[in-house]
Amino acid sequence: MTMLLIGVFLLSLLVITAIAIVRSEDLFSAVMLSGIFSLLMALNFFLLDAADVALTEAAVGAGVATVLLLAGLRLIPPKEAPGRPLRALSVTVIAATALLMIYASFGQPTLGDPLAPTQQHIAPWYIEKTPELIDIPNIVTAVLSSFRGYDTLGEVFVVLTAGIGVMFLLGGGRGKPFSRLDSQAEQGLSGHLIPKVMARLLIPFILLFALFIQFHGEYSPGGGFQAGAIFVAGIILYSLVRGEGLALSVIPPRALLLMSAGGALLFGSVGVAGMLMGGNFLEYSVLAENPVIGQHIGIIVIELGVGLTVTGVLLSIFHAFAARD
């Protein structure tokens, strides 16, 4: 009951934040609010027993998205043009839809109902079979990378596509090419002592944490995607401290491209290997004598692929935005 009430409180906050985002005319504050929105959302997910999702939402919604929006706002005016009249028709349609959905909710199973169809079909099978077939503690990781590994392959390609798109749109044209970035002009925060020292101290830990998330994903919440996002957060922090150019020299753009494409290829080649060794695409069981070991190998390699691609793409995107002026 207490949990439920906390949930209600958090959700109400969520709605208020959402309204504040929509109403705010200053885009900077809107970006900050949407970071808060994501954190609240992550908290909610945590309450709802979805640790992996909470971690991801925090890393992506509050972290990556905020940084991206800020990088974008560097290039565009941060003020919204003053208000325009509401359109009565759209308001009516939207309100009606919302009421309809609320009306429909009375036919739905309530929160946490153990008899809901979702808890009866398929999901129990995952929970029951994971120890036997895959033998890793984190069921979410098992489903993500093995039972529904094909979706995850698709997810990696979505990320890669976004990377391709940003590089295609911002990588050419009027912006400066990567190689000619002037490290003199962009000193970042290096003039400020305290952030510099703090960051220096933090960065190694962040990177270490990322590696932990990457390789411990089978046992605890986490995996390639979250690891990539956190790794990127570390690099971005570094670049804030040391200026763009130096951060870039740590990982050259061509290497980023190789990472992005290589990660996706790595994932795919695990699948093809399964095919060559007599199984179906993405069938890890055939990778080793013992099917369970095969699953382990498959999961570790594809998670690595996911991590590589996510890191490569996110860094490319960040640099593409940063290199534009």
């Binding site: 309809l100 039972f147 390609f157 590089m167 295609f168 749109l169 795919g268 993405l282």
Partner: protein, 497 residues
């Protein structure tokens, strides 16, 4: 397992896995070549799958070796094969015919990214066509959509950017609506697999969430499919995209959304929700009808050939939606045939437009006056494909229109007015096409120059092969017919007469 059993997976993997390799290339030509080869290979795979479907059938493919509904399955039936042929064929046509045009639109340095996106779009569309899992469809829908946004944004006109942003917003809303619908169904059935869904839906049928789900899915996919009046993103996106891209997406991307709509409405809901077909019919037919008539009428007033053809696409989507909305055997046949035939005609038309723009540099009517005398071969192909679009007998377009009209006549009470609407819109199609044809043959070129300036022979050959395919499938439509027949059987599952 032998290789033949892997065909459904290979259909997706081949273009998907080639894409990261292509973006690593540094040379525009090599990237194009790589993309073309991968696209040709997928076309070959689609043909193999088609042969298999028409033969013994294609067995279900369990991804990762996990049997559905626990794992993700790939299912290929006649309708999927039809879509695969369309998608891979259109992609190959666009790439093969678009070399010269793309070389102009996209600078060499960014070309590998562009071709990578092209292959990802292709893989995404193929992925939707073979998917047997509702969430997997969402993932691949997003893959193809994101990649398509990139392709459209590559247009040289700055309006390509504003068009693509609108498309991105509406496309995402559509996909999210779809996801919500899937969520509601999952909530009530606990499964994501199409076949399993259809099986388990019977128990919870007529509950509020399922009805809401049907609404969300239908509206979301109608947004993606640009069913009138949810089409606002389409004309500008088609117009300002690079010409080769228009050849590709105009022929197949909206049809894939309709494909998913068919899968859901018939494969999943229909057998369970008895009233569903009536609801669907009542919802979709008025929209389809107004699309058929209004979009055709709007097309008449366009001054840009690409925009005119784009509005024509909206009208043609109306035909498909109308046929699909009839919820009869004949209607589904007509819908599938029209998808195939319209893709054939539109692909050819846009390929001709590509050739026009290649030589004259613009797609506006004023600039294309007299083009028929300057490029007689291309223009003749345009006329043939245009006739197919109108539905003149002897062309592919007639076959599907015939089926459509026969299907419509079978509707008690609706028959005659619907037939009249279809015929009226065919006449409107004659008007808008003939406006251009007349201008092309008898108009005065802007600079008064009427010397010959045809595109190179390989491109002309390609254009003519596409045009002749319109005639071939008008006289020998057995292949699409067989596929549509097989598709209809699986869609209805023997539920309807």
């Amino acid at each position: 397992m032998n290789l033949a059993d892997h065909l459904p997976a290979l259909q997706v993997i081949v273009p998907l896995m080639t894409a990261p390799l292509v973006i690593l290339l540094r040379n525009g030509f090599l990237a194009w070549l790589g993309a073309l080869l991968a696209s040709l290979a997928s076309f070959g795979l689609a043909i193999l799958l088609t042969v298999a479907v028409l033969g013994a059938g294609v067995p279900e493919y369990a991804m990762g070796g996990w049997q559905p509904p626990f794992g993700i399955s790939l299912n290929v039936d006649g309708l999927s094969a039809l879509m695969l042929l369309l998608v891979t064929g259109a992609s190959t046509l666009g790439l093969a015919g678009g070399r010269l045009s793309l070389r102009r639109d996209i600078d060499n340095r960014r070309a590998p990214m562009f071709y990578g996106a092209w292959l990802i779009a292709l893989a995404g569309l193929c992925g939707i066509a073979v998917a047997g899992d509702a969430f997997n469809v969402f993932v691949f829908m997003e893959i193809s959509s994101l990649a398509t946004y990139i392709l459209i944004a590559a247009g040289r006109d700055r309006r390509a950017l504003s068009a693509v942003f609108k498309y991105l917003i509406i496309g995402t809303i559509g996909a999210t609506f779809y996801l919500i619908g899937v969520g509601f169904i999952y909530m009530m059935t606990g499964t994501l697999n199409f076949a399993d869904m259809a099986l388990r839906l019977g128990d919870v049928i007529e509950t509020r969430p399922i009805i809401i789900a049907a609404g969300f899915i239908t509206i979301g996919l109608a947004l993606k499919a640009a069913v009138f009046p949810l089409h606002i993103w389409l004309p500008r996106a088609y117009t300002y995209a690079p010409n080769a891209v228009t050849v590709f997406i105009a022929a197949c991307s909206t049809k894939v959304a309709i494909y998913v709509l068919l899968r859901f409405n018939y494969g999943v809901f229909h057998g369970n929700l008895l009233a569903h077909s009536d609801l669907f019919t009542v919802f979709i037919i008025p929209l389809a009808l107004s699309g058929i008539l209004l979009a055709s009428a709007i097309a008449i007033y366009q001054g840009n050939i690409k925009k005119m053809l784009a509005f024509s696409s909206v009208a043609q989507i109306g035909y498909i939606a109308l046929a699909a909305g009839l919820a009869t055997h004949a209607g589904l046949m007509a819908a599938q045939l029209h998808m195939f035939n319209h893709a054939l005609a539109k692909g050819t038309l846009f390929l001709c437009v590509l050739a026009f723009v290649l030589t004259t540099g613009s797609a506006s009517f004023s600039n294309l006056a007299g083009i028929g005398r300057r490029m007689p071969w291309t223009m003749a192909a345009f006329v043939i494909a245009g006739l197919s679009l109108v539905g003149v007998p002897g062309t592919a377009g007639f076959v599907s229109k015939w089926y459509l009209i026969v299907a419509v006549m079978g509707m008690p009470g609706w028959g005659v007015p619907l037939v009249m609407a279809i015929i009226l819109s065919s006449l409107l199609a004659v008007v808008y096409l003939w406006r251009f044809v007349e201008l092309a043959y008898y108009g005065q070129p802007p600079d008064g120059d009427v010397s010959r300036m045809e595109v190179p022979l390989p491109l002309r050959t390609l254009i003519w092969s596409a045009a002749l395919a319109n005639i071939y499938f008008g006289l020998v439509p057995q292949l699409p017919l067989a596929l549509a027949e097989s598709g209809t059987t699986t869609l209805l599952g023997g539920l309807l007469p």
